[in-house]
């Protein structure tokens, strides 16, 4: 592959001079990029903290852009419509991206000169580090969010020196999020004689063993995309403790994945694999295919988040339910990963920060909470305590399960959220574990080394 393929005649006579010209042009071009790629942190830091904020923008005609994944489009549209109904002068248009491109596209949009005005960053720590997100403290004071939203909820949006949990606020809004738990097929549950919610992991295993003996696949999972990770994260939270997992995700100093709990959780997953509790093609299929298999009665359970109620076939509604993963021991902590679906950030380069902050304030209202609940994102605030049963309707099950987790402080985060490099690492490790090609101990060590490398340790 010659770098410059010039016609022979030309090359012979003017070769040397022409090459010099081209090289000098190249040099001139590359000189511009000589100082190392990326922005320098000092120049863009100014955009992060707004100096003068206004809350009286509800009647100023404005168009805001809200960035959303395709999977949560209906939810985002619901929020946009409810907001517009309250403030008719402000219109919110959606910028929709395919879910699997979300993490790749959003950081680059945030860094551009025309970012969306409202977005939920896929990596809050990196967004803050790169000066891409607005410091919301002035708005929090102006609107009094600390009085409206529980401090534990706000803490998830606070970042200080690369650690989440305290410091300036960068992501805020209301308080509602998905429940990740065990979806079950009602008719198959009746077939295997599951008449009540399993009280412990052992009870759940007993149900799965029985299903297996009857020729029913106990758990439908998609792991071509690594989504058996939902179950894995739940097991990690149970065996490590939800706060310990959260410490890892939030980069708390000293937090480590290399614990006995993590190894037990991994061993449990490997054990279920060995017993044949998963569909045989789990490593080959992606989430959409797993929805199809579950909805067509190919398996008893599917461990997923409540956002999939928007994606499961409408005809399947009423034929399935959900309960949180049972605790290790009866009465133990019930866990779930969640994210605040009602919390958003304002990109540092947004030109409509005041109006966007008004939207964040709107997310603290009951109107917004209702939109969230309708889309499978319950809230623990103001919910009445009911015990989850297999007979109650799905929305009640979601709310009861969510409240149960909230009551025991069992909420935690996906391990993948610790760092962007964790996603491909975890997917590959889970696939290897499911294929029996790695051991639980080796998997935990490998994940810990990826985590340590990501933290620059």
């Amino acid at each position: 592959m010659p770098l410059l393929s010039l016609p022979h005649g030309v090359r012979r006579r003017r070769g040397a001079a022409s090459v010099t010209t081209v090289v000098s042009v190249l040099a001139a071009i590359s000189l511009a990029a000589c100082s190392g790629p990326g922005s320098s942190s000092s120049t863009s830091a100014a955009a992060v903290t707004p100096t003068a904020v206004s809350t009286a923008v509800g009647s100023t005609p404005t168009t805001l852009t809200l960035f959303t994944g395709a999977g949560t489009k209906a939810f985002s549209q619901g929020l946009a419509d409810a907001f517009h109904a309250k403030y008719p002068a402000i219109t919110i248009t959606l910028q929709v991206e395919a879910d699997n491109n979300y993490n790749t596209v959003l950081p680059r949009l945030l860094a551009s000169n025309s970012p969306p005005d409202i977005a939920a960053p896929s990596d809050l720590l990196q967004g803050v580090k790169d000066n891409l997100l607005t410091n919301l403290d002035p708005y929090s004071q102006a609107y009094g969010w600390s009085q409206k939203v529980p401090s534990t909820i706000l803490a998830a949006g606070e970042v200080n020196n690369g650690v989440i949990g305290s410091g300036p606020l960068y992501e805020a809004g209301g308080a509602a999020g998905p429940l990740v738990g065990v979806f079950y097929n009602k008719s198959l549950a009746a077939k295997v004689g599951m008449t009540q919610v399993p009280a412990t992991l052992a009870d759940l295993e007993a149900v799965m063993a029985k299903a297996k003996s009857m020729g029913i696949t106990p758990i439908v999972a998609s792991n071509g995309d690594g989504l058996i990770g939902h179950l894995y994260d739940l097991l990690l939270a149970e065996y490590m403790g939800p706060q310990q997992l959260l410490d890892v995700v939030w980069h708390k100093p000293g937090a480590t994945l290399d614990t006995a709990g993590a190894r037990q959780a991994t061993a449990t997953l490997a054990d279920w694999m060995k017993k044949g509790y998963f569909n045989s093609d789990a490593n080959a299929i992606n989430q959409d295919a797993s929805y199809g298999e579950f909805a067509s009665g190919k398996g008893l359970f599917m461990v997923q988040g409540t956002w999939i109620t928007q994606a499961l076939p409408k005809a399947f509604a009423g034929h399935y339910g959900i309960f949180p993963l049972p605790p290790k021991t009866a009465g133990g902590t019930v866990v779930s990963m969640t994210g605040n679906s009602l919390a958003f950030s304002i990109p540092a380069h947004s030109t409509h920060k005041d109006a966007a902050a008004l939207f964040l304030n709107f997310l603290t209202t009951p109107e917004a909470a209702k939109v969230a609940a309708d889309n499978g994102y319950p809230s623990a605030v103001g919910a009445s305590a009911t015990t989850l049963s297999l007979t109650m309707p799905l929305t009640d099950q979601i709310q009861a399960g969510y409240s149960e987790v909230a009551a025991g402080n069992g909420f935690t985060q996906w391990l993948q959220n610790a760092d962007t490099s964790m996603t491909p690492a975890l997917t590959a490790q889970l696939q290897s574990l499911l294929a029996g090609k790695t051991t639980p101990d080796a998997m935990v060590s490998s994940l810990q080394s990826t985590y340590a490398a990501a933290l620059g340790q």
């Binding site: 016609p7 005649g9 006579r13 590359s30 080959a284 590959a428 290897s432």
Partner: protein, 319 residues
Amino acid sequence: MSSHAPTTAAPGRASAPRTGLRRLRAGAPAPGRRRRSWAGWLFALPALLFYVVFNLRPIIENVQYSFYQWDGIGPSTFVGFTNYVHVFTEPQLLDSLLHAFYLILFYTLLPLVFGLIAAATMREIKGKLTGTLARITLFLPQIIPGAAAGVAWTWMYSSNGTVNQFLHLIGLGSIARPWLGDYTWALTAVGFIGTWLQTGFVTLLLMSGIGGIDASFYEAARLDGAGPIAQFRHITLPGLKQQIGVAVTVTIISALASFDVVYLATQGGPGYQTMVPGIAVYNLAFTANRVGAGAALAVVLALVVIAVVLPLQRLFKED
């Protein structure tokens, strides 16, 4: 991709380009020697500008990035050759390079074998309609984008897909499995998608070559009592040397630099079993936000491609 290879493999005497130039000159109003060459540059300028801005510049920038630790957005740190050390010490990155070489078997060797058989067979097909039909059928996979083929083949390889249905039908149900999720067979399964895609291209290329072989050679051979196999060995194969060279070059590049088919079919899984450099670069740069490491692997990949292709160019050069 396919455009540069044929020109590089063009005959050493370069008679064809000369004629082209002469025809061009005849149209110009008798220019002098100096002005003539400048006029040539003028014509080339727009294309050259695009080439420099959209081809050379990104390559140079990529090389530059490979010496930095950079998350793609924020400030960057110069780290020297650290990223290259990673490429050669992280086992999955090194494995990805080996996988790419394994794919050459399926992207180059098999298509070449199938293509030679198909092209030689089609030379014998006399009917105009059957000949056209056969050509279209063989070339069809080539006009389907690799990404679409990747999606279609995930269905064919799934538990209840065509491949497993066929295996059940012929009594081999015991080896049926979700191929793309199988730890041992995933890379081979991906490879066969490549075979399916490349065979049409190789066949078409070889057929055009066969068309250029003087028919009297075959006639003479037949008179001397050579059968179809002897004709193939002594006339078709040597006559196709250049086309085979082009086919090998192009398909090896697409094997080493494969991305779309593998990404759509397996994303490099299960585990790292089908991880190829193209996907590793993408994962590093855009998923893990390690742009420097991704750039370093891309540089290594480019060097590997050049190191493999350049000797081949020499091998297939007509002397």
